[in-house]
Symmetry: C2
Subunit: 375 residues, 2 copies
């Protein structure tokens, strides 16, 4: 293998793929990055125990960004290779000899890196291509952002550490919950064959990062135990979480005693302020109540002090007698992912979950938060 | 005490002073910030075991940035107060009642913070004003930046954890060393009375941060055990390190076998690259040698690989037969603080320290690094 490539281009691709590589891997070769030079361009592969990332950089005839002298492949320590390429000026020439020594040259700078045997690098999982779904990348990223934060952080119930995707009736329903709060988002998607799976939250966060500037189509291929998200340059393989995801649709109340329409940004800032004092408490308790047709947000600790603020209610329907304590941190996170100017909050008394709804009509997002008992 | 102040202005001042406040203090009142309202403006005081910072925000008649309704003082938890003010919109009104409760109001937001008794806050140390030195802030900051990084990080010899300032013969000589490397900078300064002291590196780093945008005069007052750096808005008190600073002037060689003139930026980048492999070694070993009238920078580890690069020498005087191993990290740090395009490096064989000199004539900076034995 021998090729010459623009340093900036190669450095960017390496650091994107390198993010997936775990330095703590027990298998030495998995701490490496696989480089494949073909006539069409350069492919990089990196992996950790949860995901595999494959990124293709095409050769462009006009800009002459890549020159392939000899096709082939090599595996080289991700950490040193990425750092080295980042620190080199301009063009770099990469060459591997038959002793797996990777030679990197840039002007008067000569480097030798000890590599691994490329043929010992694990094969990519085979994924059956028949059951694939196409989705707009921007929409998919929005679905992930609005659900993934609500997954469980501890592993007591493994299924809750991922987001549950269900494709049926030409709809995607994505749900995440840690059993105290629940985020649910529904999108219209063309579905050939019904399917559902649970994707680890870390894989979804990485998918968002890997496709940050991408706005085309993402193809989703799922098979037993694996899923593949595919764009024209990036393929992200992830393991799936096995197990039965709880039926959460029954948890969402159909009616409410009280419904408030509020300015989203002002509410979010108010909750952030109230969380300042609530942080001393185990549950970040804040209290919402209605006073003189205004929303009163309050929190306090006997040791530090109290905060209380009043906000305009844009619209109120139902019972105006309301007082409920909830985890302010959960509410802050739920509001943070909503892009609308105005939101609705529905209440069913102080002992039942509250429902936060985006007022945006194109897709359907809702968030459920269970109250905490106040003392 | 009662006053109204612009939120952005107050938030900035609080976070500057707050940086000095240690949350781990055993004395509860020292985790607070002291607020003093006077007709002239607002003063904030914060402290940890090493330094005290006093910052004055003047009342400006034209911009009406501050309105004083009642003079007085209060002490309030730094952590909560700073965070709270940062999250409030626009103007804030601060009021303290006779039970040390600090009321903060901004529009429809009401907060009560439990305070401390202001009269129990420790007094500032008294510093005899007769022996004071005036220095240009920009020059002083340069002196600090070019020396402070070379101080010892461990406390085996406490005097080496600070920078030694010696004012005599209308010159300031600032020296820092960890006994493997030494940074020395000499500046012309008007000195009324000879004096010398050792300032902890943490205090000097904080002084640079506190005066980051300031370009006027800094007054330096020293007394037994304390030093005060004073600008028109900030006063930074620091404890001094007691003890006898070693006489380092004898360590600096007067002659050399070899002298190289090199491009500073290119050398710095080359050393950074070589450090990549040297990191595996205890001493960040890199090797400098001369090959065919070029400087050869190399490093390597048997496990990872090797790097070698050649750089143009702009001027060479003396012996061209040279090979020396030094700590690349020390050299990188020394080069980083030099602003000149060209630097000189002097060598006295492979067992004697190398000397890096800035070619800038206005002030005198030099850096000494002891070689490491290579195996």
């Amino acid at each position: 293998m021998k090729f010459t490539i623009d340093q900036k281009l190669f450095s960017k691709a390496l650091s994107d793929v390198g993010r997936a590589v775990s330095q703590k891997s027990l298998v030495p070769i998995l701490s490496g990055i696989k480089v494949i030079a073909e006539d069409e361009g350069i492919t990089l592969i990196g992996t950790n125990s949860d995901i595999i990332i494959k990124r293709f950089t095409p050769r462009d005839e006009t800009s002459r960004n890549i020159r392939i002298d000899q096709t082939g492949s090599a595996v080289v320590s991700e950490r040193y290779f990425t750092e080295l390429i980042r620190k080199l000026p301009e063009e770099v020439t990469i060459e591997v000899d038959d002793k797996q020594v990777v030679k990197v040259r840039s002007g008067d700078i000569f480097t030798h890196l000890n590599g691994f045997r490329a043929d010992e690098y694990p094969q990519l999982p085979e994924i059956n291509g028949t059951n694939s779904i196409s989705m707009d990348a921007k929409e998919l990223k929005e679905v992930i952002k609005q659900t993934v934060f609500a997954t469980a952080k501890n592993e007591t119930r493994p299924v809750l550490t991922g987001v549950h995707f269900r494709f049926s009736n030409n709809q995607l329903t994505a749900v995440a919950t840690n059993s105290q709060r629940l985020a649910s988002r529904i999108n219209d998607v063309y579905v050939k064959q019904e399917t559902s799976f649970i994707v680890p939250s870390s894989s979804l966060n990485e998918l968002v990062k890997q496709t940050i500037d991408y706005s085309g189509i993402v193809k989703i291929h799922s098979s037993d135990g694996y899923i593949l998200f595919e764009t024209d340059q990036v393929s992200l393989y992830s393991r799936l979480i096995s197990g039965h995801y709880p039926n959460t649709s029954k948890l969402i109340p159909n009616e409410q005693n009280t419904m408030l329409s509020l300015n989203k940004e002002r509410l979010e800032k108010g909750i952030e302020r109230a969380c300042l004092f609530a942080g001393e408490w185990k549950n970040n308790n804040i209290t919402l109540s209605i006073k003189d047709h205004k929303l009163c947000i309050s929190s306090g600790s006997s040791e530090m002090g109290q905060i209380q603020e009043l906000q305009e209610i844009m619209d109120l329907t139902g019972d105006a007698d309301l007082k409920i304590s909830i985890d302010g941190h959960f509410l802050k996170e739920a509001l943070h992912t909503i892009m609308d100017e105005e939101i609705n909050i529905k209440f069913n008394g102080s002992m039942r979950p509250i429902v936060i709804e985006s007022t945006h009509q194109k897709s359907s997002y809702l968030h459920l938060i269970s109250p905490v008992r106040s003392f």
